[in-house]
Symmetry: C2
Subunit: 337 residues, 2 copies
Amino acid sequence: MPLTLEDIARMSGVSRSTVSRVINDDPNVKERTRQKVLEIIRTVDFQPNMAARGLAAGRTQVIGLVIPMAVTSIFTDPYFPLLIQGVSSACNSLGYSMMLWLAEPDYEQRIASKIVYSALVDGVIVASAVMDDPIVAALNERQKMPFIMIGRLLGAPTANYVDVDNRSGAAAAVEHLVRLGRQHIATVTGPQTMIAGYDRYVGYLEGMERAHRLVDSDLVVEGDFSERCGYQAMQKILLYHPDAVFIASDMMAIGAMHAIHDAGLRIPEDVAVVGFDDIPAAVRAIPPLTTIRQPINRSGAMAAQLLIDIIEHPTPEPRRMLLTTEIVIRKSCGAQP
Amino acid sequence: MPLTLEDIARMSGVSRSTVSRVINDDPNVKERTRQKVLEIIRTVDFQPNMAARGLAAGRTQVIGLVIPMAVTSIFTDPYFPLLIQGVSSACNSLGYSMMLWLAEPDYEQRIASKIVYSALVDGVIVASAVMDDPIVAALNERQKMPFIMIGRLLGAPTANYVDVDNRSGAAAAVEHLVRLGRQHIATVTGPQTMIAGYDRYVGYLEGMERAHRLVDSDLVVEGDFSERCGYQAMQKILLYHPDAVFIASDMMAIGAMHAIHDAGLRIPEDVAVVGFDDIPAAVRAIPPLTTIRQPINRSGAMAAQLLIDIIEHPTPEPRRMLLTTEIVIRKSCGAQP
DNA sequence: GTGAAAGCGCTAACAG
DNA sequence: CTGTTAGCGCTTTCAC
C-alpha cells in the first residue's frame, strides 16, 4: 500500500497541508519543520500520487512529445532517436516525465483530442509537423495547452518553436560548392510539405542567387528524406550531368552516392556531394560525406526546456530559438585530398 | 473550459454514473441510452480527464516503457526505435498512451521510485535490462505494479517476458557456416551482462558443439553491440586467422566488415560473416550481410499487448512469449554467388 | 507558520 | 437499468 500525504503528515506530526507545502517548495514553512518532513519523506521514499496531484493542481509534471508519422519512414533515420533522447534528457533533469505519441494517420485525430483535452500532460512538443497538421490545428484551437514546435510552421506566426537555421546551412553548402569551382550544382530537396525541406530548398536558391548562378529546374528533384528516394532522385538528376549536388539529408545523400557510384561516376571527381544532418553514418560513407551538421539532440533538449518554462512561468510572448548549423568538411565535396 | 462527465450527463438527460458506464463499456446500460450518450460525446468530442480517472479508478490507461541507458550507445542502433514503434503502435490500437523513460544512470533510482509509486502508469515494459537492474529490483520489490520485460532476466524466474529465441538463432548461424565448410568459426559476442548477448553466445557454443567443433578462446571476443567495438573486436580476432565469424549484432558486423576489408581480406572468400538483427543497413552493406532476423517491432507490440492483458485481466500465471528468428541469406556468408 | 475544509472529475458500491 | 453517494490523494483557499 503506497503511502499518502496523510501518512507522512502523521509520521512527522504536522498536517497534510504542511507536507504538501514542503513538497511544493512553498516558502511559508518554518525551516525546522521543512527539514523534519523532508527527512521522513526521504527515509520512506515517498512519491506523491501524480494522478491526485494532476487532478487537484491541474498539472501533471508530464510533457508530451508528438511525432506525426504521416510523412517519413520515421525510424530508419537517426534524427528522431536523437531528438527523443534530447527531450528525455531535459525532462530527467527538470523532474518531468515524457509521454511519447507516434501519431499514425489512423489515430491522429483521436490522439489530438486526447492530448488536448484529457489532462494527461502539461504541454506538448510537436516534432516535424507538416503543414495543416491536425494535431497542431487542435492545439491552436484550444488555447490552454502550451505547446512548442520543433521546426517552425508557416502560417502559425504566434507559435513557440525551436528551429535549426536550415536556410543558412543550405546556403553555406551551396557556397562551399561554388567556391570549389563547381558549375552545375543540383539539389535533392526534402518534402516541401515539411518546413525543414522547404527551408533547405530556399537556402539552396539563396546560395545559388548569391553566386549569380541560374537554377536549372532539371537539376532540382524533390525527395522525402529516405535513402531509397535519394537513390532514385539522383538517378534522375544524373541524366543532366551535374558536377555537384546538395542533398537535403544525409540518408538521402547516402542513397544518392550509391546511385552516382552505380552510374560509374566518381565522388568527388565527377560529382561533389554535400549532405545535411551529420548523422553518424555520414563519417563512414565512402567517401566520407561532407555535410551540414545540425544539433539534433540539443533541439530536443531546448524544446523541452522552453516548454517547461512556458508551463511554469506563463507569459504572453512567444519563446523562439534558432540553432545554428556548421559545415563539416570531409572528402565527398572534393575540398580535401 | 473542458467538459466534464457532469456536463455530458446534463446534455443527455441522464446521471453522471450512466455516462461513466457508457464510457467504460459497462453492459448495464440500455442500448437506447447508450446511443444517445455516445452521440453527445461524439458531437462535443468529449475526452474524460485522465487524472481524475486515474485517481478514482487507480488506472490511467498509460503504460511506461523504460530503457535503461546504462550499457549501450542506445540510439545509433535502430533496435530501440523499432521497439518503440512496436510498443507505440500497440498502444494506439488498444487505447493506451505510452510514457517513455530513458533512464540515464544518474536518474535511475529516482525514476524507479517514480515509476513504481507515483501512479503515473498502469504497468511498465522494461527493455533490455541488465542483470541487477535497479529498476527491475524496484519493480520486483513492490508487487503491485505489473511489468513485463523484453528479454528475459536470469534469476527472475517468475517475471513476465517477451523474448526472441536468441540461442536458436545464433546456433543456426553457426550451423549455416559449418554447412558451408568453414573451419575456424569465430564470434564477436554482445555484452555478457545483457541476456541477449549472453544467449547469443550460448547459441554459438551450442552450434559449435553440435558440429563437434572445439571452441578456440582466441576466436571469441566480447563486444558491446556498437559498430566501433565490432571493428576493434574483429581486428583482435583476425590475428588468429578465422575463415568465418558470427557477430552478435548487425551494427557490430558492419564495423567488423570494415576491419576485415582494411586488413586486405575479402568477404566472403577469406572470411564469411553472419550478423544478427537484420537491421535495414544489413542489406546495403558491401557485400550484403547474411544475418539472423529478429522481429523487433513485433517484440515491442507483443510486450505491450501482454502487459495490457495483465493489467486488464490479472491472473497469477506469468505471460511469456518466445519469438522465432529466421536466417536471411545474402552474400557475406558465401552461400550465394 | 500551520491546520481545517472544500473541492478537482471521475469510479464504484449501493439502493432502488 | 439508473441515480445517489462516498471517496481516490492531493492542492488551495481561508482561518487562526
